[in-house]
Amino acid sequence: MLRAEGLRHAFGEGGGRVVALDDVSFTLAPGHTLAVFGPNGAGKTTLLKVLAGLIRPQRGTASVTGGRRAIGWIGHRSHLYGHLTLRENLRFWAALYDVPRTASAARADAVMRRLGISDRADQAVGSLSQGLVQRAAIARALIHDPQTLLLDEPFTGLDLAAAAQLRALLGELRGAGRTLVLATHNVDEGVELATDIAFQRRGGFIRLAPRGTRSPAQIADEYRLAVASE
């Protein structure tokens, strides 16, 4: 369960002030996926950072059931250490999330297998291609089997096949009762996964609605209208 109440946040002071979030409220129940569509710089990342507790919002509150421990985070970068192997990286993050030592090796193997990167386990992350690093970053976020996943442009750097795989994986997680928040500038990515849709524009406007029975094409049209009317 994820809850946001009256979130407001702006950067800078005076005329340089950019409003990222303007009175954003929503709740998201387990098994739901919120897709936040918006152009670059609209404040999607700020929203995710507020939900993750990285940024304290100037107004309002955000809470995730289970706290930090229950959050899986995929940011713009991989958060992996280039000079450590993939397995060492995953074991390190597992330890930080209190995955028991006895379970962490099996857990690392499982997520690597799920992401199709098992054969890279003992390579240094710095030597992997961008697409593989992105998969490794997703493996990192799933290492502690989080209840809530916050994903910031997770499809960046993935080829079509890998993107389809990731969509299938996220669909499974949703089916298993996980809560997902997915931010992207590309409506085609992840629109099928979404149970709830939000559009975010510069200036912090966010409009939320259940997806209902709208088709991806309808949503894409709506998005174009919403962003164009800026």
Binding site: R69, W73, G75, L80, Y81, L84, L96
Partner: protein, 226 residues
């Protein structure tokens, strides 16, 4: 508390693993230390100044420089792929993060000093035989002082312009008390005075360590959290 320390150790172990995997920073710091000691040898007039008179200053100026090199890279590791952001999202407390970084830096500087001290003895023919243990104690206390403040500052300077230059400018004034006290205590030890002669210096050194350890532990979160 034990949770806090366990997570700190997880962070420190990761840092050390990275350090020994790449080795560049550690090797550079060791070579740097050897070079500074060599430069000092030629930077004095051997007929005018006895090595023993200058020895404490040489040792401590060298160690201070070495610590500076080590500290500059402490948080650089976390900038790669924005690992720091991942750490901040995780349940890791800021205290654990600071202590983990502190421990890793202490080990790093200790390794450099472990190489530097024998070289120092060798180059300057200093009679350390009987005072090795107390000398190591002085080194440990002073190093804790440097690194405590240095770790805190290195978390700040990584996000400033001219980071490599900013750290020494900010940190050097803070190195003066541990430096002065360590030089005084080392001089007393090397001239074969009883340890009780340096008790006052050591107490003040310990006070410095405690004050800044407490302050840095609580101030650290302001350097990383928005």
């Amino acid at each position: 508390m034990s949770d806090l320390l366990r997570r700190a150790w997880t962070v420190a172990r990761k840092d050390l693993m990275l350090e020994f995997r790449t080795r560049t920073a550690l090797l550079s710091a060791v070579v740097f230390t050897a070079l500074v000691l060599t430069v000092f040898n030629f930077g004095r007039d051997p007929t005018a100044v006895a090595p023993l008179d200058l020895a404490p200053s040489i040792l401590w100026v060298t160690f201070t420089f070495a610590a500076m090199v080590a500290l500059n890279r402490a948080f650089q590791l976390e900038l790669e792929n924005q690992a720091l952001e991942g750490l901040l999202v995780s349940p890791l407390s800021r205290y654990s993060l600071y202590w983990g970084k502190l421990v890793a830096n202490l080990v790093f500087v200790a390794v450099v000093e472990a190489v530097g001290l024998p070289l120092f003895v060798l180059f300057f023919d200093v009679p350390v035989g009987r005072v090795v243990l107390p000398l190591c104690g002085v080194i440990a206390l002073a190093t804790l002082g440097f690194v405590t403040v240095g770790t805190l500052f290195s978390a700040m300077v990584i996000r400033t312009r001219f980071a490599e230059l900013m750290l020494p400018v900010l940190l050097l004034p803070f190195l003066i008390p541990p430096l002065v006290l360590a030089v005084l205590a080392t001089a007393k030890l090397l001239s074969a005075r009883p340890l009780s002669d340096s008790a006052g210096y050591l107490k003040l050194l310990a006070a410095y360590d405690i004050v800044f350890l407490v302050a840095a532990t609580f101030l650290f979160r302001f350097t990383v959290d928005e």
